[in-house]
Symmetry: C2
Subunit: 248 residues, 2 copies
């Protein structure tokens, strides 16, 4: 997995973007992710791609006994350690693609908007399986397959078009899974496109029982903050999965 | 469920269309559907929306002990009875939305490109559950959520656009589930749009275990017959599910 978050320009632009209160992470992804959490009382949670650890504080405030966060970025882990100093938090710099080198047993594994950076989803799921307790739960969000589909080939990243007063999203290359290079925060970022079918099949084949799939939607509150988010409901930008470890 | 297949104009145009050997049913849907079938030896199969029964003959030729076909259209059932006269076949005119009035026990239930006509998918799944043996299998194809998403409001059904030499499919209204009226064979046809997430969740909530999800793709053979089908791989037109009844 490429680590753009320790690239200085990218990290500064990213932090600026995230510090604005009106963004899709705060207004769309985060509320849904929170709503999907199970009862966390006394649970030990692993957060994959924990970033600055803000979500981890929420997990502790909602009953979790401990939260371990991992992130590929030293910058992010430094921020997380600064934000969450209590003994119930623990942080490690780690590339999610090397999760097989990590040890522990967790009741719940969460991940926000990070899995689309991972090349080998099946390996990731195998590693997650091994880190979960019996009946452990995996909850993750990622960019939706609609969002990751188009191969831009270095061209302008146009993804909407207006025809006769109606806005349509553009879709192509859906069945061509794999690497997608996009420009984000003036930096080339590598993501991986996987179809809905592929996400579902990988979970099943790696012994997870899917509990629920959810597409992101903009709530009334989100639309009040930014009217453009209304269009998000015409084509979801994020997808969420809840899956349970199938005890063998 | 509205029955357009007993509308004379529609039925004639539909039969003309299906009698051409180069169409998406023959070259894309049918080969995939066949490849997804389990071992049928001695199995009793129910075919929902059986049409003219051609697929049912394939089922018998591949080991099924008996095939019962139901279809809302009298025209279709008349054709099926003509095509399949042997005692291993049995046909009934029946609206799939009234499947709770139907009796029997089937090892396998199949359905080709019919479920997108059904308004209440959860009721349909409940009825299917009751008609399956323990560990019975449901295999169905339907128009993909990409295909059914756009609300056309009586406007021209444009679904592709060329930008800088690349063809994109148009997508909108994805999260607005429900009725879609489209013009097909000079007739207004009512379909129902459901998202991938919704299809998966309905199966889970109605006690099915998803075995596999598959998007349609055009094989090399299909592309040899019609080069335009290459574009099908940029946005699947059909979606397939294999699901197993969860014994309680």
């Amino acid at each position: 997995m490429k680590n753009v978050y320790d690239n200085k320009t990218f990290f500064e632009l990213y932090k600026n973007h995230r510090s604005e209160s009106v963004n899709r992470n705060n207004l769309i992804e985060n509320p849904i992710m929170k709503s999907l959490l199970p009862n966390l009382t006394d649970k030990c949670v692993l957060d994959l791609g924990c970033g600055d650890g803000k979500f981890d504080r929420f997990l502790i405030e909602n009953g979790a006994r401990c939260v371990v966060g991992v992130d590929i970025s030293k910058n992010m882990i430094a921020d997380a350690k600064k934000n969450n100093k209590e003994r119930c938090f623990d942080y490690y710099v780690l590339d999610m693609e090397k999760l097989d080198t990590f040890e522990g047993e967790y009741d719940v594994i969460v991940s926000s908007l990070a899995f689309h950076y991972v090349k080998d989803f099946d390996k990731l799921l195998k590693d997650i399986y091994n880190l979960l307790t019996e009946d452990g739960i995996l909850i993750f969000s990622q960019e939706s397959p609609f969002k990751t589909a188009i191969i831009f080939d270095g061209k302008e990243q146009k993804n909407k078009i207006e025809i006769d007063g109606k806005i349509y999203y553009l879709l192509s290359d859906y069945q061509t899974e794999g690497e997608r290079k996009v420009i984000w925060n003036k930096t080339e970022v590598t993501k991986y496109h996987r179809t809905y079918a592929s996400l579902v099949n990988s979970l099943i084949n790696n012994n997870f029982k899917i509990v629920k799939v959810l597409d992101s939607y903009a709530s009334e509150e989100a639309i009040k903050e930014n009217e453009n988010y209304k269009k998000e409901n015409d084509r979801p930008i994020f997808t969420f999965f809840i899956a349970k470890k199938n005890s063998l």
